[in-house]
Symmetry: C2
């Protein structure tokens, strides 16, 4: 929990630097307000949906943090735009629990509502990159694509009008590999020639300049819009960690434009963050589209990857900076006084609450990994002093200067 809090605090700090403000929605949402928004798999297999017998309503536990934001904006059309908000909270999915896949986990979302422009997407991708860099991840890639590209190519060149079933197969690429996707598409009844063409398309990835050159031949409105939108994003960012990848589709159905995903090569645990543009989700609630784009960072995934890569460690067991050891039971009131002075001075301090002898107090403090022990006994009480102890080093200091002495001792 200490590590998770540190990770979330750093992400929150970066969200704030990028001009995002906090905003939170409830954990319970009416099932009616979600139904039909998140796609078949989510709604039939993964969401917690249940009846509440007291209110006679059906509720869901929030599956992700984007649709509640969309519902809010639809209900509050007076909100000044752009509305840049972040939400760090738990979500629930009916997964089979396993490493990096949990039933209850944390997401950190940042969204910009109101701007249809590439600069809004670029800002979201940039803050995602900053999060990765700030934590010290060395080798990570942000894959970028645009929903309109495949859709446009599919309808223009392959005669596929409803691409969603194809996207669902492609989305499993990381899990089941190219052969798996090919088999899945064939199983869905597609002709082998068509499957070959799709497989060819989704193997395209590389630098934006190079790859986009080959796509400019497709004279389709959606493809042209996507290329011009992506071109601006790539040109604002000038980042070497970006990869233009036609195979990236993202699972959720509400994306309408650029999509992206942050991955590390090792360990192979799926994406650490992902997002994209959803210009029509708010309109599903209000009938009036409002453009929006956002990112969701998976806290547990980030931590699992970071632990394996040595970016994070779990050594810290306690915040406690000093433990006040009462050498004898009669010194406890004096120990309390010492602890209170240090707490007023802003230190994180504990003292014996178990009426233990000195050596048991010390053992307990060591188990917590406490850096400094402060011994108080009858002699210290008489002289109004304490004895600071750290790594074999002892120092007797007067009570009146204990705050500054402990600062020095800790640094």
């Amino acid at each position: 929990m200490i590590l998770r809090k540190e990770v979330m605090a750093k992400i929150e700090e970066i969200f704030k630097r990028y001009g995002f403000d906090p905003f939170e929605t409830p954990v319970l949402e009416y099932w009616e307000t979600v139904r039909g928004k998140l796609g078949e798999e989510a709604e039939t297999k993964l969401m917690f949906i249940f009846p509440d017998f007291m209110s006679k309503e059906w509720y869901t536990l929030r599956y992700e943090l984007t649709f509640p934001l969309a519902r809010y904006i639809a209900m509050h059309p007076e909100t000044p735009l752009p509305f840049k908000r972040y939400h760090i909270g738990r979500v629930w999915r009916h997964e089979e629990p396993q490493k990096s896949r949990y039933r209850e986990f944390w997401q950190c979302d940042a969204d910009t509502v109101g701007s249809p422009y590439p600069e809004a997407d670029a800002e979201i991708i940039k803050l995602n990159i900053e999060v990765m860099r700030d934590f010290g991840f060395q080798e990570f890639t942000v894959k970028v694509n645009d929903r309109r590209l495949l859709t446009g190519i599919f309808e223009e060149e392959l005669g596929i009008d409803n691409p969603l079933p194809v996207y669902r197969s492609i989305d499993k690429l990381d899990k089941i590999g190219e052969d798996g996707v090919r088999a899945d598409l064939l199983y869905k009844g597609m002709h082998e020639d068509l499957v070959d063409k799709i497989m060819g398309l989704i193997s395209v990835r590389g630098e934006f300049e190079e790859v986009s050159e080959n796509l400019r031949g497709v004279k389709n409105e959606k493809v042209l819009q996507a290329l011009s939108h992506l071109e601006e994003i790539f040109s604002i960012l000038e980042e070497k960690n970006l990869l233009f990848d036609l195979s990236l589709v993202r699972g959720l159905e509400y994306y309408t434009g650029p999509v992206f995903e942050t991955v590390v090569k090792e360990p192979r645990i799926g994406s650490l963050a992902g997002g994209g543009r959803y210009d029509r989700l708010i309109g599903l609630y209000s009938g009036r589209d409002v453009p929006a784009t956002g990112v969701s960072i998976g806290v547990e995934r980030l931590i699992d990857a970071g632990l394996e890569l040595g970016v994070f460690n779990l050594n810290k067991k306690s915040y406690i900076q000093a433990f006040v050891v009462s050498v004898r039971r009669e010194s406890w009131r004096y120990a309390w006084k010492v602890a209170e002075i240090l707490r007023s001075g802003g230190f994180y301090v504990s003292l014996d609450l178990m009426r233990r002898n000195q050596s048991n107090q010390r053992e307990y403090a060591r188990k917590l990994g406490t850096e400094v022990m402060i011994f108080v006994g009858p002699k210290e009480e008489e002289n109004e002093t304490v004895t600071l102890y750290r790594d074999g080093k002892r120092k007797s200091v007067p009570l009146r200067s204990i705050v500054s002495e402990l600062s020095a001792f800790l640094s």
Copy 2:
């Protein structure tokens, strides 16, 4: 949300000063693990209890944060004691939503598991007092009582062996007044003489020394234990905000010793915090009792009270410290560069994402309450400068020293 975050951060800081570490349990708990632990009202009227059709389990949304901690300790008897943890999280109750009474709200809990001694209770009460002081509440009272007192007096002098139904009536004192409690007890079939005696007892409050003197005549083991336990708490704390109040019982059934509650005179919105000792709750799970004591602070109650008392204000609409205004559209890339430099310097910065003209950008920034605007146009770009603006004051500064200049400008 900004205010709520500030409030929770301050409470968390005080928890840490008192040597508590973070610990969190899930939002979903099996109904079976809660059943019979929280009392009739909670379990029949207030808890969200529902079937999950996928797992065929009955779940509850956590009603409060203490029983999940007890469950955890029962499942992990190897935990080093004392286990001092805090948990800041949401809880759910099926209330009729109204001011200061919500269906989904935040609690900040601190608990010490393992110590049966008064010093553990004293520490918990002290940190509660520190929270109130740190926020600047002037007139607040921490009412203290001990469950064993009334129980002992009831069985010794009034012949009442099961005090829980009487406690349920007394617990409504703040809501329904003395006449209400009296009527409630009579309605439950108690004799008028008995009710008079109970009403006399629960009107006893004041300084511990004085009130306890009158109770020392009761030769009952529970009463004696309670008085000696309370005496140590009051003597450790020496706080003028404490009030010994025999009418305080607390609603939850699991308390076994000292109980306390923090109230303000105005506004009258019930207690802002409350807690007590629950030495037998963990044993309900494991069959092996482990002593424990804790406090729960209600975030929304604290905020509602603090807003009315002028302790808090809701003026802050955004964290953003500076908004970079692109004087012309061509200057946007330069504005992005400026924003990125400031963000790397740790500032919270926004810039135009809507391709608005200068005056609309300024209006938006003003709506958010942004303190500083930073103007960049073709002239600034050419000279590698920016123009800082705040309260009618302008200053042109070179790009290379913009971080230090903005620091100075903001202070």
